[in-house]
Symmetry: C2
Subunit: 388 residues, 2 copies
């Protein structure tokens, strides 16, 4: 049996998860010298069931569709492995001749990657396990940013821009756009990129990194509507008040889970009730993480490169590391890949938006953030023409 | 004072409202022989205040930005004119040398267009008033379809497609996508176009043309989840039950208006409570009517042509008519413009999705609808690659 390389996806998909898959598979074909290329169907659970898809013989012109395929073409899973399953998984890998494992996912998957590398090492198996970072939320530490974020940022920036143009022309008094990212405000912050030729951008941006003060928010909106006819606010789905409670009200309990209403709608309703202005909340939700139409070309390229880089490292026998980006320059944009140590990552918290990127009032972002974020979203935004 | 042509926008913007503006302005420049080209700032209210924007001298390369500008570049308004204001408006037009008026909007605006034409005729003013249809909801009668709809249809179809790819790969049990169109299900129905190479499309589609039966919906979802891991349903924001009551619960009263929750969230919560499956609702809302990224090229071209056609008719002295589309063929797609009589339109109800486009179970659309709708959305959708 030929040696094999196995790719495992973990966690929610992004607009470029399959681009990393394309990069990894292509690199393995070019440099893997006859290595069988496998993917675990539906993530680590599939690997435990030895449910492998063979990607060795997919024609190149088919494979290239991955660059523009949303979701995960090989499935993914949200369930973390249990402690005892790492040993079992390493035995399964050994049995199936797997010499390289690439795990593509977020913080949870990177932790699994670290554990699996450790389990293989402990057993003396020569199996290289390397991580490919992937998250729309951009909350993985040690890397400047993660593939998936640039496209999610582009989605929210374009959406905010189009929404502002729409709202300004009608006008609707207040529109609240809810953005993804429960604990980190990276996606929400990217709405600031909407500002440009012909677009003022959103008026208010609230990140989960700051406690949300309802009264302050109502004042912000009132102040704005004294000067202009409409206000657009972008809010994180994970906003919490000063007591740490979710801003959206709990709807009901089901088993252990509490279900909360949508933050955007909740705040729109607050504006109607307390200020008497017409307001509505919009929530693209999952649409923001899977939009191929708004896929960032930079993000796609970097996702492919991260897949290739991780594959090369694994082929060279590296293990327990993650492909990570180091930024060299924002203008012109340049970044390089390096290998980050997963042991080090394991000791760090989820990466949140730092203070220097948030304005003093806590209702917007800084120019420094915009400069940092813009290149990740790819091409410049269109110019608009507005007379009124 | 030179004669003038005045453009007035009414109602909510679409992704191609400004493309019609571009068409009208360009045609007026080419054939108007020195006609001044004006737009009323923020719709008919602006016209009553004699608040006119001059578009005569905007450089062509700037003007072309209109083809890709969301919202309304000259503003628009939702407030209908009062009966007595038509006389006043006709006097204002006369005073300002306006010889041609183009009113771009939906059913309300077309009615205003008819009344204004009547008021001008009654006074013996030689003022031509012609309508340009515009609606994302596609509820204007007498025309095969209206500019704005093709792009809204493309948005929901692409969104549903990407959502299905995302949900299938994870999987999330149930996702409900809420689509715009309170009284007519045209946009909701277009989600069916998501079906294609690599995508099954949404499993269930509920239009406001049929009473929504909660128990039947829960059975539909249960049946699906016995066979597959996830279900995607697309629902109209305007769903009502058999008693004609909105499916979303009333949240609160503010003045004369009752505010309702979002239908998508309401149904997701119903699924969680009653069936115990994880479910979430997404609501792109206004994002679906202003997306330039998902603007349909066919829709953009037709919007421009409708603007040009209406302008030509007005220049030739036609009044009280609307530019309308007659479909010649769906495959290959061909349609022609004609002048529909606004008197006739006035006697008709909003155009709803006809029975032949809705499946028998009332939870999907027919192949006939898909064939009718697809050409309006422009280019074919991407192919996806999915192994799992």
């Amino acid at each position: 049996m030929e040696d094999a390389l196995l790719i495992i996806h973990g966690g929610g998909p992004t607009a470029v998860l399959n681009a990393s898959l394309y990069g990894a598979v292509t690199e393995a074909r070019e440099r893997g010298r006859g290595l069988r290329i496998l993917a675990a169907r539906n993530g680590s659970g599939g690997a435990l069931r030895e449910d492998f898809l063979s990607l060795s013989d997919v024609p190149e012109e088919r494979l290239r569709l991955l660059l523009r395929t949303p979701g995960s073409a090989v499935g993914t899973s949200r369930d973390p492995l249990e402690e005892r399953e790492y040993d079992r998984l390493s035995e399964i890998l050994k049995k199936n001749g797997v010499r390289c494992v690439l795990m593509n996912g977020g913080n949870g998957t990177m932790d699994a990657c670290r554990r699996l590398a450790g389990a293989c090492r402990a057993k003396g198996f020569e199996i290289s396990v390397v991580g490919i970072p992937k998250t729309t939320d951009n909350d993985i530490a040690l890397t400047d940013h993660s593939p998936g974020y640039g496209s999610a940022a582009r989605f929210i920036a374009r959406s905010a821009m189009e929404l502002c143009a729409d709202v300004r022309s009608l006008p609707i008094h207040v529109v609240i756009l809810e953005a993804s990212g429960r604990n980190a405000g990276w996606i929400t912050a990217a709405a600031a990129l909407a500002r440009g030729e012909g677009c003022e951008g959103p008026d208010l941006i609230y990140l989960p990194e700051r406690p949300f003060r309802e009264e302050r928010f109502l004042e912000d909106v009132s102040d704005l509507l004294r000067e202009k006819k409409s206000a657009v606010a972008v809010v994180s789905e994970g906003l919490r008040n000063e007591r740490g409670e979710p801003v959206a009200e709990p709807l009901f309990q089901s088993g252990r889970a509490t279900y909360f209403g949508d933050v955007g709608s909740a705040l729109a309703n607050l504006v109607i009730r307390r200020l008497g202005y017409k307001a509505r909340g919009e929530k693209p939700g999952l649409l923001g993480r899977c939009s191929i139409s708004l896929q960032s070309p930079v993000d796609r390229r970097e996702a492919e490169e991260a897949g290739r880089f991780a594959c090369r490292a694994a082929l060279e026998g590296v293990s327990g590391k993650m492909a990570a980006f180091r930024r060299i320059s924002s203008d012109p944009y340049a970044a390089e890949l390096f290998l980050a140590d997963l042991e080090e990552l394991g000791g760090l918290r989820e990466s949140a938006v730092p203070d220097r990127f948030i304005n003093e009032a806590g209702n917007g972002v800084t120019e420094e953030f915009v400069k940092w974020c813009r290149p990740l979203t790819g091409e410049a935004f269109s110019e608009f023409l507005a007379f009124n």
